[in-house]
C-alpha cells in the first residue's frame, strides 16, 4: 500500500467517504469562521477525540509534526516582525519584541493550518483511496478524474522503480552521481530524459489497456466497492450542522462579550510550539548522532 491509509476497524473508518469529505469542508469553513486563537485552540483539542476514535493517534502525531514546523515559523516570525502589531507583550534577546496583534494574527494562521491538517490527515488515514474514487463518481465527478486520482497511487511506485533502474544504468555508464552539487545538477538531464520517455511510454501503453477494458464506454459504470450513507453518517452530518450553527451564533452574537484570548494564552501557545519543536530537534540530533557512532541499527 502506497497511500497513507491505515486499515483499522473503527467508527470513523466505517463512515461514508462523502461524509468525511464534507467533514473536511466543515473543518475548513469552521477554521475561518472561528478566527480567534482561543476558539481555534478549543476546536483543535475537540478534534483530537476523533483521532483517538479512528485509532490513528500515533501516525497522526508523526504527520502533524511537519505541520508544527510551519506553526513554529509563522508564530515566531510573524509575532516579531508583522507590522500590524502595536502592543508589546514580551521581549527576547533585548530587542525582538512580540506584539499582541501580530501574535493573534500568527496564532490564528498557524492554528488554522493545524486544524485543517488534522482534518485532512484524519480523512486520508481513514479512507481507502478506491472508496474515495467511487464516492467521487457518485457525486457526478467524471470517471476519468477519479481514475487519475487513484492511478497516482499506482504510478508513483512504478516510476520510483524505473528511476532507480535508470540511475543504475547511467551509473554503469560512468555517470557521476556522488560528485559536487553542480555536477549532480548537471547529471539530472541524463537521469530525467530517459525517465520521462519511459513514463510516457508506460502511460501510452496503459491508455491502450484502458481502452481494451472498455474505459471510454458510454453508459453506467459499476464499482466493486460499495459506499452507502447510513444512519451513522446522518448522525455525523447532523452533528456537524449543529456545530456549524453554534459557531455562527457564537460569531454573530457572542464575540463582543466572549473574550478568551489573553496575553498568557498567546505566550503559552508560542512557548508550547517552541518546546515541542525543541523536542523534535533533540530527537533528530540524537538519531543522527546514533547513526554516526552506532551504525548498528
Amino acid at each position: 500500500m502506497n497511500s497513507l491509509y491505515m486499515p483499522k476497524d473503527s467508527l470513523i473508518h466505517s463512515l461514508d467517504p462523502r461524509t468525511k469529505m464534507l467533514f473536511v469542508v466543515f473543518v475548513v469553513a469552521s477554521s475561518f469562521i472561528l478566527n480567534d486563537p482561543a476558539l481555534q485552540l478549543v476546536f483543535l483539542v475537540a478534534l483530537f477525540p476523533l483521532v483517538v476514535l479512528a485509532k490513528v493517534v500515533k501516525p497522526y502525531l508523526i504527520s502533524i509534526q511537519f505541520l508544527l514546523l510551519f506553526a513554529v515559523l509563522i508564530m515566531t516570525v510573524h509575532g516579531i516582525y508583522n507590522p500590524i502589531g502595536v502592543t508589546p507583550v514580551f521581549e527576547i534577546f533585548g530587542g525582538l519584541t512580540f506584539k499582541y496583534e501580530s501574535m493573534v494574527y500568527a496564532s490564528v494562521m498557524s492554528f488554522r493550518i493545524l486544524v485543517i491538517g488534522t482534518a485532512a490527515v484524519l480523512f486520508v488515514m481513514t479512507t481507502h483511496p478506491s472508496d474515495m474514487a467511487s464516492a467521487l463518481v457518485k457525486w457526478k465527478v467524471p470517471h476519468s478524474f477519479a481514475f487519475i486520482l487513484l492511478s497516482t497511487f499506482q504510478i508513483i511506485p512504478i516510476i520510483a522503480r524505473e528511476a532507480k533502474i535508470v540511475m543504475e544504468a547511467q551509473q554503469a555508464r560512468c555517470l557521476d552521481v556522488k560528485g559536487s552539487l553542480i555536477q549532480r545538477v548537471k547529471n539530472l538531464v541524463p537521469m530525467f530524459a530517459p525517465l520521462f520517455i519511459i513514463t510516457f511510454m508506460k502511460v501510452h501503453q496503459l491508455s491502450y489497456v484502458l481502452e481494451c477494458r472498455a474505459f471510454s464506454r458510454k453508459g453506467e459504470k459499476t464499482s466493486l466497492r460499495e459506499t452507502k450513507i447510513g444512519s451513522l453518517d446522518y448522525t455525523f452530518l447532523l452533528g456537524m450542522l449543529g456545530f456549524l450553527a453554534f459557531e455562527i451564533y457564537l460569531k454573530l452574537f457572542m464575540m463582543g462579550s466572549l473574550q478568551l484570548t489573553t496575553d498568557a494564552l498567546l505566550t503559552y501557545s508560542l512557548f508550547g510550539t517552541w518546546i515541542v519543536f525543541g523536542f523534535m530537534i533533540i530527537k533528530f540530533v540524537v538519531k543522527q548522532f546514533q547513526g554516526k557512532i552506532g551504525g548498528a541499527n
Binding site: L150, Q205, S216, E220, S223
Partner: protein
C-alpha cells in the same frame, strides 16, 4: 453458415511515418473455439495485426487501413474499441503496464465496472476468474506485490472476467520465466474448454505447436503460411527460409532425415516423434 469468429479480408495497413505498409493484403479466418498462433520475426507486424482485430488499430493507433476485419460477423471498423472489448479481450506484453488498481479484486472488477456489471455478479465472476488463472486467495493484495507471471495471469483474469468470446494475447510470456510461461499457457489451454477463441503471438514454437490449432506465419507484413500447426511446423525448409524454427523434436527428425538420407515422418510432439523414430530405426 454461421459467422466465423474472426475473418480478415485483404487487410493492408501502414503507419503514418513509414513508406511501406506493415501489413500487406492479409487474408485469414478462424472458427469459434479455435486457437490461432501467430509467429514471425520481430517487426513482421504481428502486434499490429492483433490490434486490428479489436480495433485499437486504426481507431486509437492511427494509420491507413484498407480491407475489412470482421469479428463474429460484424465489422470492427463500425464499432469502437470500448464496444469491441465486450467481445474481444486483449492481453499485452508487459504485465506491469496493464495494472491500474490498488488491489487484485479491484483490478479484475475494473473492466467489469466499465461494462456496468452489477456488483453481485462481479463478486461471482472475480472468484471464477481468479480460479481460472490459479490466483485464488490473493484478492486483497496489491498487484504490484505479485511476480511477473502472477501479474500476467492477473491481467488475463481481468480480461476473462469481462467474458469476451475472443481472447488475444500479444507476447504474453516474453517477460516471464519458464514457470510463468507454463502458467500462462495452461490458462490458454483452459480457454478452449470454455469455448473461447484465442489468438496468441509468441516466439515459443514448442508451446505454440502444442497448444494451437492453427498457425499463421507472418513475415514482413505478409502471410507466408496459414495452416494447422502440424502442417506449418513440418514444413521445415520454408520455416528456415523465414529465419524461424520448428520445435526441437521436429528439427531433430528433419536434420536426421537430411544427414542420413532417411525418411522418418516428422512430428511436433515428443511422443509421436519418439514412436516415429523408433519404428524407422527398426
Amino acid at each position: 453458415m454461421a459467422a466465423k469468429a474472426i475473418e480478415v479480408n485483404n487487410l493492408t495497413f501502414s503507419y503514418p511515418d513509414t513508406d511501406e505498409p506493415v501489413l500487406k493484403d492479409i487474408n485469414f479466418s478462424i472458427n469459434h473455439g479455435e486457437i490461432l498462433g501467430i509467429i514471425g520475426p520481430t517487426g513482421a507486424g504481428k502486434s499490429t495485426l492483433a490490434m486490428c482485430v479489436n480495433g485499437l488499430v486504426p481507431q486509437v493507433i492511427n494509420g491507413e487501413m484498407e480491407g475489412t476485419v470482421k469479428v463474429n460477423g460484424s465489422k470492427v471498423s463500425e464499432s469502437s474499441v470500448a464496444k469491441m472489448s465486450e467481445e474481444v479481450g486483449f492481453v499485452f506484453q508487459e504485465p506491469e503496464n496493464q495494472l491500474s488498481q490498488m488491489t487484485i479484486e479491484e483490478e479484475i472488477a475494473f473492466g467489469m465496472g466499465n461494462l456496468g456489471v452489477p456488483r453481485d455478479e462481479m463478486l461471482g465472476r472475480i472468484t471464477h476468474a481468479l480460479d481460472q488463472v490459479g490466483l485464488t486467495g490473493f484478492e486483497k493484495r496489491s498487484p504490484l506485490a505479485l511476480s511477473g507471471g502472477q501479474q500476467q495471469r492477473l491481467a488475463i483474469a481481468a480480461v476473462l472476467a469481462m467474458r469476451p468470446s475472443i481472447m488475444i494475447m500479444d507476447e504474453p510470456t516474453s517477460m516471464l520465466d519458464p514457470k510463468g510461461k507454463n502458467e500462462v499457457y495452461d490458462v490458454l489451454k483452459n480457454l478452449k474448454d470454455y469455448g473461447m477463441t484465442g489468438i496468441i503471438i509468441d516466439h515459443e514454437v514448442e508451446r505454440i505447436a502444442a497448444y494451437c490449432d492453427k498457425v499463421l506465419v507472418l513475415h514482413e507484413g505478409e502471410v507466408q503460411m496459414f495452416a494447422p500447426s502440424d502442417e506449418v511446423f513440418t514444413n521445415i525448409r520454408q520455416l528456415h527460409e523465414l529465419t524461424l524454427n520448428a520445435p526441437q523434436v521436429t528439427e531433430f527428425l528433419a536434420s536426421y532425415n537430411q544427414t542420413f538420407g532417411k525418411d522418418v515422418k516428422l512430428s511436433t510432439t515428443l511422443e509421436e516423434s519418439v514412436n516415429n523414430f523408433e519404428s524407422a530405426c527398426k
